[in-house]
């Protein structure tokens, strides 16, 4: 029954499949390259522009006025660290606890509503968050402050932390929970002693993602943290921040300020990149623990 035509066809089909396979591979590789290129261009351009402005003074000294050589933005780096600490102090407990709630008890209608609001919060433009913080903290206190800046950043951070925590805990196998419950352990002890430790890598990832998310934010800080030319003065006083300082220097007419802005942008970018690399490392160890 085997006609020559039939014998050839599978070979032809296979050949066509190979061609399609190749073509699609090339297409996907091209798409990936196109997606990565902007990142490489940005990183490369900032590295080239920022490299010769790098100096120890940049991260240790206070800003110098125009026309005077030297100076840095050490206060801005300290300020950013404080703002991130304040934001974390608010966002991590709230975010992690709501993540635990969503994962462990969020099956009902209230959980769905909460999840929906968390997702909406992710999409709120950061400048709007800044205005909220300005209205409820800056205006009543009659002062710009590190506190209001950290508060604004925490609002941006909370949904990221909550959703990542939820996803991490959902990945904890049901069998492990059941094993714990079968031994007569209370549900809350199970969550605290079994579920959370197992999903810890995911929770840490969420925290780091949240920090990476807020470290470059400028808009919510404009009318909250406000910026400062001095070392930090406490949580109720205006405070400097790296993105603010970059923004301010970038729009000035002076080349030495531009140079410092580029260098600071480079450092900020390296910090965020480093944080992302750390996240990868944490997630990888995390998988090993689960297995």
């Amino acid at each position: 029954m085997a006609s020559p035509a039939l014998a050839v066809r599978p070979a032809l089909a296979l050949g066509r499949r190979r061609v399609v396979d190749r073509a699609m591979s090339v297409l996907f590789v091209a798409a990936t390259v196109a997606a990565v290129t902007p990142l490489l261009l940005v990183v490369g351009y900032i590295a080239v522009q920022g490299a010769h402005g790098l100096s120890i003074a940049l991260v240790t000294q206070l800003p110098a006025p125009v026309g005077e050589p030297g100076g840095g933005m050490g206060n801005a780096f300290v300020g950013s660290a404080i703002l991130i600490a304040v934001a974390s102090a608010i966002a991590l407990p709230v975010g992690i606890l709501s993540g635990v709630y969503l994962s462990e008890f969020g099956g009902g209608r209230f959980g769905d509503v909460l999840r929906f609001f968390t997702d909406v919060l992710t999409g709120v433009p950061s400048i709007v968050v800044g205005i909220v913080a300005y209205t409820i903290l800056v205006v009543p206190l009659r002062s710009f402050s590190a506190l209001s800046g950290g508060f604004a950043l925490s609002i941006i951070m909370i949904p990221t932390v909550a959703r990542t925590t939820e996803e991490a805990l959902k990945r904890v196998p049901l069998t492990i929970r059941e094993a714990s419950l079968a031994l007569g352990v209370h549900e809350w002890t199970t969550i605290l002693r079994v579920v959370i430790p197992t999903g810890l890598a995911g929770i840490v990832t969420g925290a780091m993602l949240g920090i990476a998310r807020i470290s470059g934010e400028t808009a919510p800080l404009l009318f909250t943290a406000f910026g400062s030319a001095f070392w930090q003065q406490g949580l109720l006083k205006p405070i400097a921040a790296v993105p603010l300082q970059i923004f301010q220097y970038a729009i000035s007419p002076y080349t030495d300020w531009h140079e410092q802005a580029w260098a600071a942008a480079l450092i900020l970018m390296l910090l965020v990149l480093g944080l992302n690399v750390a996240i990868r490392a944490v997630t990888r160890t995390g998988f090993r623990t689960v297995r």
């Binding site: 240790t60 000294q61 206070l62 800003p63 110098a64 006025p65 125009v66 026309g67 005077e68 050490g74 300290v78 660290a81 404080i82 600490a85 304040v86 974390s88 102090a89 800056v138 205006v139 009659r142 002062s143 710009f144 590190a146 430790p197 810890l200 890598a201 840490v204 925290a207 404009l222 009318f223 406000f226 910026g227 400062s228 030319a229 001095f230 070392w231 930090q232 003065q233 406490g234 949580l235 006083k237 205006p238 301010q248 970038a250 729009i251 000035s252 007419p253 002076y254 080349t255 944490v282 160890t285 995390g286 623990t289």
Partner: protein, 360 residues
């Protein structure tokens, strides 16, 4: 991921927070970097407003800190924003390149009583262009024509007449203006209103106007960038941007019919005339000033404060600071392309500052 490393991360953030909560506990390096801090705690004054004033303030306030230990934190959020923040009483002083209008005055008075305008510096607004021609000359009506859209080509006879012996290209004029509210725009449109009745009736003078033609750019950095990158363009920005970015500036025909390039001296000369007939509230606009050497597009910048300062310590510090800025501080103006205040204006300023009261 071990538990200990998470705890470490937690401990680090707690430690950071603790140091942040420590109030005025500044890092040890701060004391050496900021010179002598005043004994018994540092006083900090906060101001916001004009981007134009920022470079000058960064220098003057630093010098003031070295001298007195008082920290003045100034943030350049824009003139309009500075006025708003003053009205919201989130800052101790505002800085603006245009005086408060009636509406703003009403809002400010409702919030904290009457305000005092203190002229603190003067600046020239440069009209930059991008053409392969040096020393382009324009007069007020022609410039108004360009911004009204009635002159659209560089070889328009009205432009050519002002530039005898120069072959003007036939390229269209690309008009650039500010898209955001700005003191620079206030000075520029005040000038166009002063020299062109058509501009005055159709557009008027304000920090933000309805531009008949042209494209908007944000901030002076945006306008100067746009002019640098667009052949055949024209735009306006503070003198410092023209000098620092090597942008060619239009030579203007002033009220006396003389040709003047934008310069610190040109602004000073224009301002000197304004000192003679200064209004009582010091809200003077001196565009198109008389005098052979006066540059016509120039203006004051003001620090605006409440006349009555409730906080005794801060109020007194503010008064001392203002006195310093309008006198000694003027020495820093010229190297940064600001025009120092004429002596007569300084005296008027000191008189205005002396009306500020402190206490309950």
């Amino acid at each position: 991921m071990s538990r200990t490393s998470l705890l470490t991360a937690g401990a680090v953030s707690v430690a950071l927070l603790a140091s942040a909560c420590g109030g005025s506990a500044v890092p040890p390096s701060a004391a050496s970097a900021s010179g002598s801090a005043a004994p018994g705690g540092t006083v900090q004054l906060t101001g916001a407003g004009s981007t134009f004033d920022f470079p000058l303030f960064s220098k003057v306030f630093k010098d003031y800190q070295t001298k007195t230990g008082v920290q003045v934190n100034y943030q350049s959020v824009g003139s309009g924003s500075g006025v708003t923040q003053l009205t919201k009483r989130t800052v101790d002083f505002g800085a603006s390149d245009f005086p408060l209008n009636d509406e703003q005055t009403k809002a400010a008075e409702a919030a904290g009583g009457p305000v005092v305008h203190v002229p603190i510096t003067m600046g020239a607004v440069s009209v930059g262009y991008d053409l392969p021609i040096d020393g382009l000359t324009l007069d007020g009506p022609t410039l108004a024509g360009i911004y009204l859209g009635t002159i659209t080509k560089w070889n328009d006879p009205r432009v050519a007449a002002l530039n005898p012996g120069v072959t003007m290209p036939s390229t269209p004029i690309a008009v650039v203006h500010r898209s955001d509210g700005s003191g620079t725009t206030f000075i520029f449109t005040s000038y166009l209103s002063a020299v062109s009745p058509e501009w005055k009736s159709k557009v008027g003078a304000s920090g933000t106007v309805n531009w008949p033609v042209g494209i908007g750019a944000k901030g002076s950095e945006g306008v100067s960038g746009q002019v640098t990158n667009t052949p055949g363009s024209i735009g306006y920005f503070e003198l410092a941007y023209a000098k620092q970015n090597n942008i060619k500036s239009v030579t203007m025909k002033n009220a006396a019919g003389k040709l003047v390039e934008p310069s610190v001296k040109g602004a000073s000369d224009a301002g000197a005339g304004a000192a003679a007939n200064m209004p009582a509230d010091l809200k003077a606009v001196f565009v198109n000033a008389p005098g052979d050497t006066s540059y016509p597009i120039a203006g004051f910048s003001w620090i605006i404060v409440f006349k009555h300062q409730k906080d005794k310590v801060k109020g007194q510090e503010l008064i001392d600071l203002l006195k310093y800025v309008v006198t000694t501080g003027q020495q820093s103006a010229e190297p940064l392309y600001y025009a120092p205040l004429p002596k007569a204006v300084q005296d008027l300023d000191l008189k205005a500052i002396s009306t500020i009261t402190v206490g309950q």
